[in-house]
């Protein structure tokens, strides 16, 4: 099992009373709430935290993309990945991801990722997402074309990486006479492609296809949802006639480790609740613009009358649902071991900073992972050899 340090880089200094005037930390929250002097400090602090994870021997570090929000300050994640490319030495750098349908020219991603892959000598992991619903409001991209543009942009980027250039690309949304990516990617045929998702059958069937076998990442979900979608991935692979390996599955969740369960809960509570109730806050219309989900999926939501951002959430809720991993090293090892045995996944991507969690606590938790949790699973893997393919019943 590989461990990837995941960061959202939130604007942790957000005035918590903003929600008395504004209904969301996204898209419409005035950027006058952002102080560049504080931002300067946060960016550098957050980059330090990621570099520290590399020093401590984490397998990878992850950045990601969100627009016009206090939730995450990486609208152009390649800038962060570029800054990390030279300062880190061993960790993989995963950009999870670029939101492809937002782009008028996805070749920029082929180029950007190829550059990062060359600079790092093949430490890049390429993440492709559709982006959450709010991004379509922020960037004006048409959500009704989201699925189509994602697939077409993906095909274009992979073509740019794998076909000798110049080649032609003739799509509905993208059409290029000269696809000729300089530089070519360092990793051949191309960097590993990971697909973060909140879970959808369409995405899983596409990612697990034998021509792709992309690593599917379940992000920020109850552990029951993780189990359901991992099972779906294995079933899809079986239907395609092969057995998926644990390498094809990853799980991302906010996580916090401290000396004891009690200390961990006490220290994490205000920060994770800020994350849940302030930074994640957005109305349903922002989260789910038309076309973001298929009409079939919308039917499920209508039937369940599900309000995604309904009501305040507590740390206890998210710990109980297995959305948030919190406790002593021993508790976290037990949880991860149990879930891994029951569900099966090869990559764990703990989000080590969340909400207002301050630098010293991020460092402490990152160290406990590096010194107690990660080595436990590395030893276990050495004892049992490479983890075997797992087939869910």
């Amino acid at each position: 099992m590989k461990f990837f340090f995941f960061h959202l880089m939130p604007y942790a200094a957000l005035d918590p009373d903003y929600d008395k005037l504004h209904n969301s930390a996204w898209v419409t929250l005035p950027n006058t709430y952002y102080d560049p002097k504080i931002g300067h400090e946060l960016y550098n602090r957050y980059l330090d935290e990621m570099e520290y994870a590399d020093e401590l021997g984490w397998d990878g570090i992850c950045v990601n993309e969100h627009h016009q929000t206090a939730y995450g300050l990486m609208p152009i994640p390649g800038v962060m990945a570029g800054a990390l490319a030279r300062r880190t030495k061993q960790a993989k750098i995963a950009v999870l991801g670029r939101a492809l349908p937002l782009l008028n020219n996805p070749l920029t991603v082929a180029e950007e990722f190829a550059m990062l892959d060359n600079i790092t000598g093949g430490r890049l992991i390429a993440g492709f997402v559709r982006g959450i619903g709010a991004e379509y409001h922020a960037w004006g991209a048409n959500p009704a074309e989201s699925h189509d543009r994602f697939h077409e942009a993906h095909d274009l980027i992979v073509q740019a990486w794998t076909q000798p250039g110049p080649s032609k690309f003739e799509g509905k949304h993208y059409h290029f006479e000269y696809v000729n990516c300089w530089p070519r990617p360092y990793q051949q045929p191309h960097p590993p492609i990971w697909i973060p998702s909140q879970g959808s059958r369409e995405t899983i069937e596409w990612a697990s296809h034998p021509s792709r076998k992309y690593t599917y990442l379940q992000t920020f979900s109850p552990v029951s949802a993780l189990a359901r979608f991992v099972k779906m991935y294995h079933e899809a692979a079986n239907k395609y006639g092969y057995q998926a390996t644990n390498d094809q599955i990853g799980w991302s969740m906010p996580a916090y480790a401290a000396e004891t369960d009690e200390i961990a809960r006490r220290e994490a509570r205000p920060h994770v609740e800020f994350f849940l109730n302030k930074l994640l806050r957005m109305p349903q219309e922002m989260l789910l613009p038309p076309g973001y989900l298929s009409l079939a999926s919308m039917k499920g939501i209508v039937a369940a009358k599900k309000g995604i951002s309904a009501g305040p959430r507590t740390m206890d809720d998210v710990i109980e649902q297995g959305i948030f991993l919190c406790g002593s090293a021993r508790t976290i090892c037990e949880r991860l071991e149990k879930y891994q045995q029951e569900i099966g996944f090869g990559h764990v991507l703990p989000q080590m900073q969340f909400g207002t969690l301050p630098h010293e606590l991020v460092k402490k938790s990152t160290e406990i992972f590096a010194r107690e949790i990660i080595p436990y699973f590395r030893r276990k893997q050495e004892d049992t050899g490479a983890s075997p393919a797992r087939v869910s019943a």
């Binding site: 409001h137 004006g140 991209a141 048409n142 074309e145 613009p289 209508v302």
Partner: protein
């Protein structure tokens, strides 16, 4: 008497069509909220016209054809529709998104049209005059912003949608996004060709329209040669409901004068 419902297949797309009344043909094109309902204003119009009220491709009970990408596609579809049904001297009435569609039809061909009515029509853009963000408003905000008279909104909101209606609403929103998300509710090229409209044109607006502000009325009037404009007082985005008598009366008289 409610309109008769039937299905027509045109350009490979099966759509729901409501039809009622006797007289010269009037084709009514609905807005983003969808069709499929025989409204009281249709009943009034049906006393003077044979009213055709189709549900657009992509909306409600109509199919979503693979060719539907923009309002121009919808315009060509309705030119086929008029031809297939053999309609002549059509009074073409469009509301909001349907008004935009009607304008796109008329710049392509006025051959089968007698008169054009644009009611709170989308389709053009005036720099600095923002339209309402129908995609970010909650369902309640949307209904409240559609009407000047909040009693109408209260009445609508008191009747929650059942599951079938909610699914139709989701389908209508999807079709609207496909056609109008970006650029938002307009075609940047339409304004260049509105001078091609060669039939008498009546532009109707509500002075309290919070979706397409009333400044769009005079803007359309300046672009369509010889067009007439009337702005209803104390009226929102749906004058056919809020000012039913005046709205239907103007259309009936305008069509009669158009010969």
């Amino acid at each position: 008497m409610p309109g008769e419902e039937r299905f027509e297949t045109i350009a490979g797309c099966k759509i729901r069509l409501l039809r009622g009344g006797k007289g010269a043909p009037l084709l009514y094109l609905h807005g983003a909220g969808g069709g499929g309902i025989w409204f009281p204003f249709m009943e009034t119009l049906a006393e003077h016209f044979e009213v055709f009220a189709p549900e657009h491709p992509g909306f409600g009970a109509s199919e979503t054809p693979a060719w539907l990408d923009n309002v121009g596609d919808l315009a060509y579809f309705y030119l086929d529709f008029i031809e297939k049904l053999g309609l002549k001297n059509v009074t073409l009435v469009g509301s909001s998104l349907g008004g935009w569609t009607a304008a796109e039809i008329a710049v392509r061909s006025c051959a089968s049209l007698k008169a054009l009515v644009l009611s709170c029509a989308a389709g053009i853009h005036i720099e600095g005059v923002a339209k309402g963000d129908i995609f970010l408003w909650s369902p309640e905000e949307t209904i409240r912003n559609m009407y000047f008279d909040q009693k109408i909104a209260d009445h609508i909101l008191a009747q929650p949608l059942d599951e079938t209606q909610q699914m139709a609403a989701a389908k209508n929103r999807l079709a609207t996004a496909k056609l109008a998300w970006q650029p938002r509710l307009y075609n940047p090229h339409l304004h260049k060709w509105l001078h091609r409209i060669s039939v008498p044109t009546l532009i109707l607006w509500g002075d309290g329209d919070r979706i397409i502000p009333p400044a769009y009325g005079p803007a359309y009037q300046a672009l369509v040669p010889g067009s007439k404009l009337e702005i209803f007082k104390d009226c929102g985005h749906v004058p056919q409901v809020e000012k039913k008598e005046a709205w239907t009366d103007r259309i009936i008289h305008f069509a009669a004068e158009a010969g």
